[in-house]
Symmetry: C2
Subunit: 211 residues, 2 copies
């Protein structure tokens, strides 16, 4: 049985959970109590050697890293969201990495400094927020153009790249990131949030935390 | 024929080049003139839709993103550096992503602000340097421990994860990142830099630029 270790406020955690739902895998979810540093406990370090969420166990097999877990689950179930053709895989890999390097990390900078830092009593780094917003200003138009040309990032069907994008954009409202310059992307995101892979998990990001 | 579009000072570019060498693929290299913004030219944007290096063409097929290109080339050649077993792939994917998210991005912060910013006449962001160094202080011990237990990141044979790590650590000397707390990792890196996948490319990072 697949067991996903995650935290509802860790948006990289959501990619594996969305994937498990999208492919109809039978799985369990275990919340790792990040607020109490459970991710650094010996028990958890035996699963994820560097103490981060998400992680996955599949019987005795253990692994970490959001995109790697998503690929593993899709391959295990031989799902069409990650087809076996190497060029199709290459295109999906490209857009997953693009989303994680250029979108998720930038959203993370803004989210951390505007939402998490105040919760932790840490001073927000305004330069990091500016860099994050600049990254998004440079990169969100790429996605706006891409989704104006096709229904999904890699053509006419949902793939792992789309699930990675939905996860990466989860905190935009909470982090007060202005999405109005990107109407196609915004409509696309709203549509994805109406699909069962999303509605089976929550109504909106932060719902489990009462945010 | 594979054609890798790259720049010698872009260390994410080096992963695909090392991979092509390691698997013995027949390939061409094309330098993209980043200093003259060639990456934003219409010709290059037709290859990489968001104007970044590296990119790859394989006949009519075009793609971008360092790790995605590395996987594609290894799959195309059915190379043992990315075996077909899904658990082996998952472990390699995990360590590639770990390296790219936690090491490459942190080295990039320090390298950009200590080396590239002065070349561009941009003011260095000292906070970003501090964050990068803190990330490395938190994450390099994970690699030091990992490589104390095994010859390579994923066991007893070289994989794509190792090539990603060599690429990610290319600028440590230039960026004046202290590696003395990590003797096993440093010795490992020196050994990898003696292998033909490396020596066929250059003697050291920055050599092509006279640095």
């Amino acid at each position: 049985m697949l067991n996903i270790y995650y935290h509802p406020m860790s948006f990289p955690s959501l990619g594996p959970v969305f994937t498990a739902e999208a492919i109809g895998a039978s799985y369990n979810k275990t919340v790792v109590d990040l607020l109490n540093q459970e991710q650094k406990s010996p028990e958890y370090l035996a699963i994820s050697p560097y103490g981060k969420v998400p992680a996955l166990t599949d019987g005795d097999f253990k692994m970490a890293e959001s995109a790697a877990i998503m690929r593993y689950m899709a391959r295990r179930e031989k799902s069409d969201i990650y087809p076996s053709d190497i060029k199709a895989q290459a295109e999906i890999d490209q857009w997953m990495d693009y989303v994680n390097h250029h979108i998720r990390s930038a959203v993370g900078r803004v989210q951390f400094n505007r939402v998490v830092a105040p919760m932790m009593g840490v001073r927000a780094d305004e330069t990091s927020i500016k860099v994050g917003l600049k990254f998004l200003e440079n990169n969100l138009p790429v996605l706006e153009a891409r989704l104006s040309d096709a229904a999904f990032l890699c053509g006419d069907a949902l793939t792992l790249a789309d699930l990675a994008l939905v996860a990466a954009l989860e905190p935009v409202k909470m982090a007060k990131i202005d999405m109005t310059p990107y109407p196609t992307l915004t409509a696309w995101l709203t549509a994805r949030r109406g699909e069962t892979f999303y509605t089976n998990i929550h109504t909106h990001f932060g719902a489990e935390m009462g945010q």
